[in-house]
Symmetry: C2
Subunit: 422 residues, 2 copies
């Protein structure tokens, strides 16, 4: 046996078709290279868990190590501990969703929920619809099952219903398996779907016979504006995904699906083979966090912190970014979406930005096969302090101004061809 065995790829011809087509996210690869502490990251949607009080964590863990140890350390049912499913029902009742514990299945974060939904519904070649741009992790989850993903654009009021209806007419009734949407504080676009569009979307789902998958990780992180009812409150048929990752801690990997029984039965079946069951230990911890600690106060401190950081980002963008750039004004959540002039390439700007000590996520990561969004950037304001955010946007603004200036100069000198700057 020689260690040379592992230096080459002997599995090439064995890998399944679904994987041969996958490419690692260029962004993730770049981040693993960016380790300097001078770099300010505006890339990851990582909540600032330093805001979680240590007492609350200790209180939440108490039962899992004590009275409820035998339960917490053991396998649990595939749908998860009923106590934690009751907590989910309590949490979503505030949002206008009425359900009972047997309408809920717990998942390893909402990411597993995306995988399970895709595994239940997608045959290779099936058509699904997503917002354009949409969540990178959803694209990764869905792509493994080889669907045809159609993206419908967003504007400041969320998914464009006129364009959606055009697409549905083209495809015809029953042609779409499901539509995936993030109505609140969209990742990456930062926009929120207005109430009228939500009502219309539910109507269209009936008319054209498709399922709605509503992903709501950020809904409780509202800084301003009025609360809007989730799609799940408008139709029983909606498949609703939630998570504690943005209101408590992603390290506990606790998400959930609320769905009609006929959907849940299939998800349960598929989850048996995927991971058997989630972590009972984490379920007990999360249950007690929401039962025994002042979690609303902690959530309030998340909201205030992120609002302050969003404000810092928006002010700095005004100050440092070129007039040709546009960006969204998120009423909550973690992300601002910046659109540069069409001739800008956010992917190549990223390598210069990294040298200048700032990272972000280029927009093409949020479209299937990176087909669009090349002139866009997602900026996360959740993790860095307001001062760091201001400094990051200053650095980034300077890189962007320089690159756009270079482009214009090349264009005027006739050294390159491309769209004329306005």
């Amino acid at each position: 046996m020689s260690s040379a065995h592992i230096t080459f790829d002997f599995t090439g011809d064995k890998v399944a078709d679904r994987v041969a087509k996958m490419r690692s996210s260029a962004v993730r690869d770049l981040f693993s290279a960016a380790t300097s502490s001078d770099v300010i990251s505006l890339s990851g949607g990582m909540p600032d868990v330093s805001l979680l009080p240590q007492e609350a964590i200790q209180k939440a863990v108490e039962a899992a190590c004590g009275d409820r140890r035998a339960l917490a350390l053991q396998y649990t049912s595939t749908d998860g501990l009923s106590g934690m499913r009751e907590v989910v029902c309590d949490l979503v009742r505030d949002l206008g969703i009425r359900c009972r514990p047997d309408d809920v299945i717990l998942t390893t974060g909402a990411q597993e929920a995306l995988d399970l939904v895709a595994k239940v519904f997608i045959n290779p070649g099936d058509t699904i619809i997503a917002e354009g741009p949409t969540y990178l992790g959803a694209l990764q989850a869905f792509s493994a099952y080889e669907p045809d993903i159609r993206c419908v654009p967003l504007d400041d009021e969320g998914l464009r219903m006129d364009l959606l209806e055009e697409e549905l007419k083209r495809l015809g009734k029953g042609a779409v398996k499901f539509l995936y949407t993030i109505p609140n504080f969209h990742n990456p676009a930062g926009v929120t779907m207005i109430a009228e569009r939500r009502a219309r979307l539910v109507e269209l789902a009936e008319e054209y016979d498709f399922l709605i998958v509503e992903d709501d990780p950020y809904g409780r992180l509202r800084f301003e504006g009025d609360y809007i009812m989730p799609l799940k409150a408008l139709s029983d048929k909606v498949i609703y995904l939630g998570t504690v990752s943005k209101v408590f801690a992603p390290g506990l990997r606790t998400g959930w699906i609320i769905a009609p029984k006929c959907v849940l039965a299939r998800i349960n079946l598929v989850k048996q083979g995927t991971d058997l069951c989630g972590s009972a230990f984490n379920m007990v911890v999360v249950e007690h966090y929401f039962r025994d600690t002042p979690w609303q106060e902690t959530l309030q401190s998340f909201i205030e912190t992120y609002r302050e950081r969003r404000d810092a980002m928006l002010e700095a963008l005004d100050e440092f970014f070129p007039p040709e750039a546009r960006w969204t004004h998120p009423e909550g959540g973690l992300f601002v979406w910046v659109t540069l002039p069409e001739y800008a390439d956010a992917g190549s700007i990223l390598s210069v930005a990294l040298e200048n000590g700032v990272t972000y996520t280029p927009g093409d990561s949020f479209y299937p096969n990176g087909a669009m969004g090349k002139n866009c950037m997602r900026l996360a304001f959740c993790f860095a302090s307001p001062d760091k955010i201001r400094e990051a946007i200053r650095r980034l603004g300077s890189v962007v101004n320089e690159r756009l200036g270079l482009y214009r100069a090349f264009l005027e000198a006739g050294a390159i061809r491309g769209p004329k700057p306005v």
Copy 2:
């Protein structure tokens, strides 16, 4: 909106082909019905977590709530925290496997490992080989990707190499994607693959060009006999799966894959879409359990307890089961496999057994589509006390004797047709 929406299945035509073929395990369904405390369960492979000292759990959790809180509560990389991956390297070094943290990816229990391996390698219609019988959860994981699963029989020395070679000759070189095996204290068969067969299996993998997936959840639970090197110690190319579920706690859902880099890279890519990353909190807890507590002592108490329970089961089988029945003599692990005469139906016996206060798992659960093993039962000795086990086998022996007697009487009276009892 009417609640009538959720009373019927409106998704039938939307469900993917892979799911339309899945059936919920009849066994699992039956168990959810069996809630009486009078029932002694010999069905689940649940470790007896009451043997875990509370101090050890508290010690293990300390860092996750304290010093390492920021890490434990946050997202982690897809391959998992390096500290926990180092622990894996230390654990498997005792078993004869040499690896470094970047040869390891952490998974949500070994069940997720099975799903990820299947997702990376199986195209619909691909041929894979498993032992017959084999682990129910592996069949569920693999089936989602629609392979043709060929089962090769076991005997008391593990997978039958002569029959495997016959099958490989029939299929031809390169025709098999991978072979899945549980060499130590097989689930459900309770047998262990002898060293000579392990060496031969590795040779055959080279000769016929297939990958080996070695699942080793029970390897440390040896009651007697000599330690045998894992397949992974014989060939770098083996994909080795481990878990803390049977040596610590399944409730922490921590498993791992040790594999060549070219395999790990694909598994990482697929895991990004499946659940993004595992629970950092659980990784920190498990890491500290193996670093800061006397886990070998606790493991020794698992081993002694299970040995005593196995002995109780084997003695009771001798005393209460009919002479036509045969069973395996496990040198470790959690399971005994009983083979009744061919005319017995372990599935229909189960419903009578349940009425008489004992459950087990019928053998056909451990074959693809339940095609074989109908006259077999898996008996788990891990969870009930020796007294309960004796009582359970007494009850079960009485049911089995009665059913076999009835069958013989019907046959003699000409009321049914079937194989003649010997």
